[in-house]
Point group: C2
Chain length 80, copies 2
C-alpha cells in the first residue's frame, strides 16, 4: 500500500515560508496569487493490505514523528 | 480557485530527509514502512476561473520559483 501524508501549519499559525513564497511570486509578476501556504508531503510504502489499520498506524506516526500536533495539522490518504 | 502543488525529488535523486524519517520510523517500531520520501506541498489561491490557464501559470511558477527542475519534479492540481 502507498500512504500520502500532508502536514500543514494550522490555520491560525503564521506561515512565514508561505508569506515569503507569496511575496516572491508577486515580485515575479504572478499577481493573481494569494494565501500561499507551504507544507510537507510525505509518501511511504506500507506492508500489508488492511487500509483502516494502515490509516490508523500512519496517524500514530504523524502524532509521534511526522507532525507537530501543537501547531500542525495532518491529513492521511492510503491507497492500495 | 485553489491550486495544490506537490514537489518531490526525482526518483533517481537520493532523498536524505526521507531516509532519515524512514530510519526514525523503524526505530520507533513502525517496521512495515519503507521507501519514505519527503517533499513539499504548496497550496495557493488563484484569482480567475480559467482552469487550464491557471494550471499553465502555476506550472510556470514551479519552473521559476517553486521547484528546482534539475532535481525535482512537480505535480499541479487546480480545483475551482
Amino acid at each position: 500500500m502507498k500512504a500520502v501524508v500532508h502536514v500543514f501549519l494550522k490555520p491560525g499559525v503564521l506561515d512565514v515560508q508561505g508569506k515569503a513564497v507569496e511575496s516572491a511570486l508577486n515580485g515575479l509578476g504572478f499577481s493573481a496569487v494569494s494565501n500561499v501556504r507551504v507544507g510537507r508531503a510525505i509518501t511511504l510504502d506500507f506492508a500489508g493490505d488492511d487500509v483502516p489499520a494502515a490509516k490508523a498506524e500512519v496517524a500514530t506516526m504523524c502524532e509521534r514523528l511526522l507532525a507537530n500536533p501543537v501547531i500542525e495539522s495532518y491529513r492521511v490518504e492510503v491507497e492500495t
